[in-house]
Amino acid sequence: MSAAAEDRSTNRDWAAIAQKVGTPFASVLLAILIGSLIMWISGYDPIAAYSALFQGSFGTPKAFGDTLLKSTPLILAGLGLAYGFRANLFNIGAEGQLFMGGLAAGWLGLVLAGQPWYVALPLLLLAAMLAGAAWAFIPAILKARIGAHEVITTMMFTYIARYLVSYLVIGPLKSPGQIPQTGLLPVEAQLPRIQSLFSDATLQAMPFLKMGRAHMGILVALVAAVIVWWVLKYTTLGYENRAVGYNPWAAETGGISVQWTTVKALCISGSLAGLAGAVEVMGVHHRLFDQFSSGFGFTGIAVALLAKNHPIAVIPAALLFGALSAGAGTMQLMADVPQKIILIVQALVIFFVAAEGIVTYFIKQRQKEATSNVG
């Protein structure tokens, strides 16, 4: 290859990357701008709001720790959604699988009391993955066998999971006391806080490590992202997943079982969502109660879409939504803006990412105007 041709091809690569990254960036920027507009119309100061938000999510090591804390389940839920989207499946009910994962971890952790951490931690995570996959299994079978839309079935299973967990923490799994919750997990079954891994002297020397409540679940999430990326890119499983998502008829003709791949895809998606529930229970609350997830499964949808279903890109996308969620409290406290604005910004991001046609739409409008002016 000549130098010039090579130069041109790298240029083209850069253009492709810029285009891929450009839409998400523009979407976030637009969403934040419109969010400011809404705040301004409602009589709030958007600059004060966003600076409070930034302060609450990146301002101090502890604030950054909170961002990591919120991002951890979002990475895992986002990975689950992305894996499903790649097979053209919309696992809108990730929240339900997340609940079941949390349930599995919260229950098994108590059963395994007395086991060392290297036994308890892997078993809990595994159990949560199985529980999440099991919760996705019936919708998966219904989708594969008779085409029942997974958006409705997984959503219904989310409500069922919530009531089930609510029943269990009030009933059979309730620990003694007034509050409906399970007993505290033994220390061996908890994901340790990041700052607890360092000595006081190290923390004194490097204060940026004092990340408050951030826990080792982030490591689980990062490893999961790399594994999902590797599976999608280099394994037969991932290839079949992508082939079915891209064109099921071609995949079937090529000898891939679309039904079986659909079942596997939704169950793997569910297992990742289950893992998200487990890290939240094992790392943050150390016990199960019915409000342990603040809609991470649903925010995972926005994470996956913003990442354009790329497993590695899920990490920065989750950090963004994690930061929004971590800073929302500070924003309400300091700038008096209702936290719900975060949900509006999140919805706007989804709109803009999904509306890839928006640019061509406005170009066409412009052309129409131009031709009508000429005529």
Binding site: Y159, K340, L348
Partner: protein, 319 residues
């Protein structure tokens, strides 16, 4: 105990519970028949429910609230129409964004207007139209029959009857008018509609806006006729159950209404059973699961045999 459960007001309650589902389901039917998937029904219903209460609280007249709910439904549906018809976004993704937007917007406005999250102040609900006297076990067989008929058919608020009329009128319009013919063709073969000189874009816009109006009305029924106040996320999956009802009703308005009656009955039954849970000894959460479990069972039972419009979910590009 069975005589205490199977009472006239169980069936009356089924009809009430079915109403918001039916209105949303008919909206879903019209929307999907035109080729646009509308999973935003949940969020549109929520916005309608909120607008209804907010305007009623401000103006003091519940009927103005109903109009506001419909207007809010149409406005939110317009976003879905623009993104999925003009911008050709993925319709399921656009619907998801609207559902999240509805949660955020109603919660945000609630804190701005009333200074707190959770539940709004109560409004005076719209009263039933008829008020005929009848009582149970009053005397004689005829009196008993009259009591059943009166309770089941004549004890309802206006939107409950409106839903029945809308179901029948839409069914008729869909199969007997030009508009209905075009609507059905839009979802099966939009190119053909385009070829005979009817605008695909306009036809789909109208369908999405109608579904928004109906889902908004469903929200009004929920807050202004049933509950009397707005609570965050109070639609609680009804928009998704309505989609299932639409499928179970084979994409027809009357079918959607019938399927909604089934889900409404399940809801009425679970509420009734909760009263007797001391005797039955089953935790309330299992009753609350009932409508959702039924939805999955119904979908599992019928979906294979019930086929939707051919072009549903596919954006149309004039070419």
């Amino acid at each position: 105990m069975l005589a205490d459960i199977i009472t006239p007001d169980l069936f009356a309650s089924a009809l009430r519970m079915a109403t918001p589902l039916a209105l949303a389901a008919i909206g879903g039917t019209i929307c999907e028949r035109s080729g646009v998937v509308n999973i935003a029904l949940e969020g549109i219903m929520l916005c309608g429910a909120f607008a209804g209460v907010a305007v009623t609280l401000a103006v003091g007249n519940a009927w103005v609230g109903v109009l506001a709910a419909i207007a809010a439904g149409v406005a939110i549906a317009a976003i879905h129409a623009f993104t999925s018809i003009n911008l050709r976004s993925d319709q399921v993704v656009s619907g998801t964004a609207i559902n999240i937007l509805a949660l955020g917007l109603t919660g945000f406005l609630m804190e701005i207007l009333y200074g707190h999250p959770g539940t709004t102040e109560a409004v005076e609900t719209i009263k039933p139209i008829f008020r005929f006297a009848s009582e149970r076990g009053g005397g004689g067989f005829l009196a008993e029959v009259w009591h059943w008929v009166n309770t089941i058919l004549f004890s309802h608020t206006p939107i409950v009857y409106m839903a029945i009329i809308i179901a029948i009128a839409m069914q008729w319009a869909m199969y007997n008018t030009r508009w209905g013919l075009h609507l059905r063709a839009l979802g099966e073969h939009p190119r053909a509609v385009d070829t005979v000189g009817v605008s695909v874009l306009r036809g789909r816009w109208v369908a999405v806006l109608i579904s928004g109006a109906l889902a908004g009305l469903a929200g009004a029924n929920l807050t202004l006729e049933q509950v009397g106040s707005f609570t965050e996320n109070m639609t609680n999956g009804r928009g998704f159950i309505a989609l299932a009802a639409n499928i179970f009703g084979r994409w027809t308005p009357v079918g959607s209404y019938g399927a909604s009656l089934l889900f409404g009955f399940a809801d009425a039954l679970q509420i009734k059973l909760q009263i007797f849970r001391g005797e039955i000894n089953i935790p309330p959460q299992f009753f609350l699961m009932l409508p959702y479990i039924l939805t999955v069972i119904v979908l599992a039972g019928v979906v294979g045999r019930s086929v939707g419009p051919a072009a549903v979910g596919k954006p149309y590009e004039k070419g």
